[in-house]
Amino acid sequence: MLKELSTSAAIAAMLFQSASSFAANTGNLDNGFNPAFSLILSGTYGSVQRGPAIPATGFAMNPNPGHEQGFNLGESEMGISASIDPEYRGVATLALDPAGGISVENAFVQTTALGDGFNLKFGRFFSGLGYLNEQHAHAWDFVDQPLVYATFWGNQLGEDGVQLKWLAPAETFIELGGEIGRGRGFPGTDTVRNGIGAGVLFAHIGDDIGIEHSWRVGASLHQTKRVAAESTSVPDVNGSPVTDLFSGNSQTTGLDFVWKYSPDGNMRNSYFKLQGEYFSRKETGYLTYDTAGVNVNDTFSVTQSGFYLQSVYQFVPRWRAGLRCDRLAPGVAQVGALNAGNVISDYAFNPTRTSLMLDYSPSEFSRLRMQVANDRTRQGSPDKQFFLQYIMSLGAHGAHTY
């Protein structure tokens, strides 16, 4: 608690300092926003018919970020960034939990002077895999992340480590990147040992077609060695919830694409965006069934996959509508003989969800959103969901990535 208080005090001091330097610099504004300070305020109202804590069928061993019900203050997000010196730039994003407390979402240093297309980043950052993973919550097109991100990455894969990217000196955008880290975010198990906990490789290619169309496609590979990953409330063959432990290799491959179209290339007036991502994860190792009870250990391997496809259409300035389709496949697990009578190997059910959203942005800095979803992620428990959301940003408004 004390630590939290002192952190809050430090941030308040930083805020004050930033605000006063801002005022002092009016008129001579080369560094009016140095360091650039921004605050995102957001909140939701959620209405769901089924308990949000129940995971998607077949995904009880994956994260389940769920949804908040009723009026809910979302995470307010504070961002501070500036050049450190001619060689480095620093970025910190702190999430203020509505219940109190502060968590460090991003805190990284990035090189600006390596040249030759190289970019090095180290610290805590969102992994560059996929398309959506690097985007902060305030830039999402829907209230929530696609199912495949929620269950495969706990919404977003954050890593403590190092990222190196290289952009080819070509007419077309060709970017290769790699990351190593401690394996902080799921499916990593936050290794407290020497060495590397998780690694990522990714490649992106993109270009324009005339001035109206632009696209990017990507492929990613994530690898981690999971150590004693505990999952609670996993249903077994008898239907009773147990606690299981998994240790083994986890390898995820992903494909992503995005295509944007805007008449005359004028995004302000109207545009259409279509994007989709697919992930497939193979886990091979040993599963300990019911650690609190019979505690039986045997081999276990499964390949899970999932994808989403979404489109967003800005039909007039300020107004956008979006449609998203989600689908997951829990796969059929190969369960060792000792556990064959305990662990469910085939759920024979594919969780799906369809979401529709409409949002209105009075200015570049504010957005109001409504979303409805037909959620069929839990077998025998279809759910109709409804959300309202506001996202407001104040202070320096950093540029958005593509």
Partner: protein, 297 residues
């Protein structure tokens, strides 16, 4: 890895002997660089004349072009703040980062108008350094051309003489053109205008137009019907002769007010390529003046 760096070195050494790769943020700076560098530069224009330069995205193609640029020529004053920082950062090109010799901002060489006395987002999308739409006054191109030539010489000293000759020729021709445009525009002096976006202070300052009101309630905010009705009331006391709109802006607000107040809508090219007549820098102002004169009738 070794073969990769070999290819890299090869590409770099090729670049060293070729013309300068210039990444121009807006068409007017591409056109000016063309005037000043001729065949010594390969110029890529990052935004089209029908794109709102505030709202361009940091597209992969832009990042790839910035990767190979020797010089980035932009307006500055936060006009490109929504996309250029990402483009430069992701390009991994240390020659064109802000503060290096490969990064050129035009606003640093002209006298800025509408520098806000306070910065508050309640005033809309204000630009701390002043209004960035400097390209609507041709007089601004003279100091920018001078500074840009110095930069070209700094980056490509072998062609110093050529750049100096081109600059001298441009200065002579451009000054003569300004005198011609000012003469043609004489009837416009004191004409009262409405503007759709706060994007014409340099034009109105140059031609001594009288700006009655702006259709956007605050910079960057779409005009609402209620706000437009207020402007109609203002017009009864202070009539205007025409409403100005840049080619990249939506036609509806100016058409709405023009119909009710019986005004002429003047769609201005705003940058090179914004109309068929605006095929180069000279055409840009020839066409702008011609359209304004037509708006008077």
């Amino acid at each position: 890895m070794r073969s990769l760096s070999a290819i890299l070195l090869l590409l770099l050494s090729c670049n060293a002997h070729a013309a300068l790769n210039v990444f121009a943020c807006e068409p007017e700076w591409a056109a000016l660089t063309q005037e000043l560098a001729g065949d010594k530069a390969n110029i890529y224009t990052a935004t089209g004349p029908l794109q709102d330069p505030h709202r361009v995205e940091a597209r992969p193609s832009l990042i790839a072009k910035a990767r190979r640029a020797n010089l980035v020529v932009c307006t500055g004053a936060e006009l490109e703040v929504a996309w250029l920082p990402v483009v430069l950062r992701e390009s991994g090109n240390n020659e064109v980062q802000v503060g290096s010799t490969g990064y050129f901002e035009a606003v640093q060489f002209v006298k800025m108008l509408e520098v806000p006395s306070r910065l508050d987002r309640a005033d809309g999308d204000v630009h701390a350094q002043g209004n960035p739409h400097i390209q609507t006054d041709p007089r601004n191109f003279l100091p920018v051309a001078d500074a840009l030539t110095k930069r070209l010489i700094h980056l490509d000293g072998a062609n110093t003489n050529g750049y100096q000759q081109r600059l001298a020729a441009f200065n002579t021709k451009w000054s003569a053109a300004i005198a011609k445009w000012e003469q043609q525009a004489a009837p416009l002096k004191g004409a009262s205008v409405l503007v759709q976006h706060q994007g014409f202070p340099y034009l109105t300052d140059w031609l001594k137009l009288k700006e009655i009101a702006t259709l956007e309630p605050k910079p960057g905010m779409e005009p609402s019907a209620a706000y437009l009705s207020q402007i109609l009331n203002t017009l009864q006391k202070q009539p205007a002769q025409m409403v100005l709109r840049a080619a990249y802006q939506g036609a509806r607000p100016s058409a709405w007010i023009a119909q009710r107040a019986h005004l002429n809508v003047v769609e201005l090219p705003y940058t090179v390529g914004g109309s068929t007549g605006a095929n180069d820098l000279y055409g840009l102002f020839d066409d702008t003046i011609a359209r304004l004169l037509k708006g008077l009738q």
